[in-house]
Symmetry: C2
Subunit: 166 residues, 2 copies
């Protein structure tokens, strides 16, 4: 069985996250490549059990323990970010997806993801003023749709990043 991707000229192609692993000097085992690929292709925020399920589908010789170990390793390297949406289990997403925030529509439950550089800057400044380097952060807004406002006009500084599945 080959690697996960063959480019036209026959060169083995690693997933974006696998490449990041290499860049960080990690030893690339078969299972790490598979897990990296699963992570690269994920458009949601899978927990370990789900990652294990997807990875197993690609290569059955992977154990949950390895998924746990890999996910922890990648988090330490800053390649992955752990999210806690409640429910007891940790969920992961690639850091390279960029930092984004969640605005939850309190009436419909819909979640809108957005990016905002000004917010990042402000948070970093606040941390600095308190004597800290900002390592990571999170922010969730809960709002109610403004009367009759179907879709807000493209906002100046807010980049609404398409939202990801599930």
């Amino acid at each position: 069985m080959g690697r996960e991707t063959e480019t036209p000229d026959g060169v083995v192609g690693d997933s974006p996250i696998a490449r990041l692993c290499v860049k960080h000097g990690l030893k690339m085992t078969g299972q790490r490549r598979v897990i990296a690929r699963v992570l690269s292709e994920a458009e949601d925020h899978p927990d370990v059990e789900e990652l294990y399920r997807r990875a197993s589908a690609l290569d059955s010789r992977i154990s949950v323990a390895t998924v746990y170990r890999t996910v922890r390793l990648l988090e330490e390297k800053g390649i992955l970010e752990r999210r806690d949406f409640g429910g007891g289990r940790a969920r992961y997403e690639a850091s390279e997806n960029g930092h984004h925030y969640h605005l939850i529509d309190v009436d419909s439950g819909n979640v809108i993801e957005f990016e905002n550089d000004e917010l990042v800057g402000l948070l970093a400044r606040i941390a600095a003023e308190l004597g800290f380097d900002l390592m990571s952060h999170r922010a969730e807004l809960f709002g109610r749709r403004i009367n009759g406002d179907k879709k807000a006009s493209a906002p100046s500084n807010v980049t609404q990043t398409g939202h990801r599945g599930k």
Copy 2:
């Protein structure tokens, strides 16, 4: 053995949170009063183990199970808020403490609370740009103490609301 507080005229005085419990129609047992008092007096974000330790010091006939049950009950009633600052355990604080943000020291686990009007304004503006009225929000920063920076100089716009120990 009496209740936890006696007012000058001999009337039993409950802690603020104990009063909230009564207001919510909860049956007030001895252990609930103690736990409510511990929560009222807490100026930090204790986890269950810590709550258990403090409650036990006041009344040794309390079990961890009861602390877990009480904390869950009060959260359902909206009297308590559960926080996740990483580290695996849930931490709690009284809802009545008002709105503030948290900066978590990733190395020590210490939590610094702060308020920031600029942040509130920005978040409200972002919500508005997306077509929403901001109902509520939360933000958590994870940072690492800047080298050699013991205590940052009093920041312009950041109001550090008493930091609470460990």
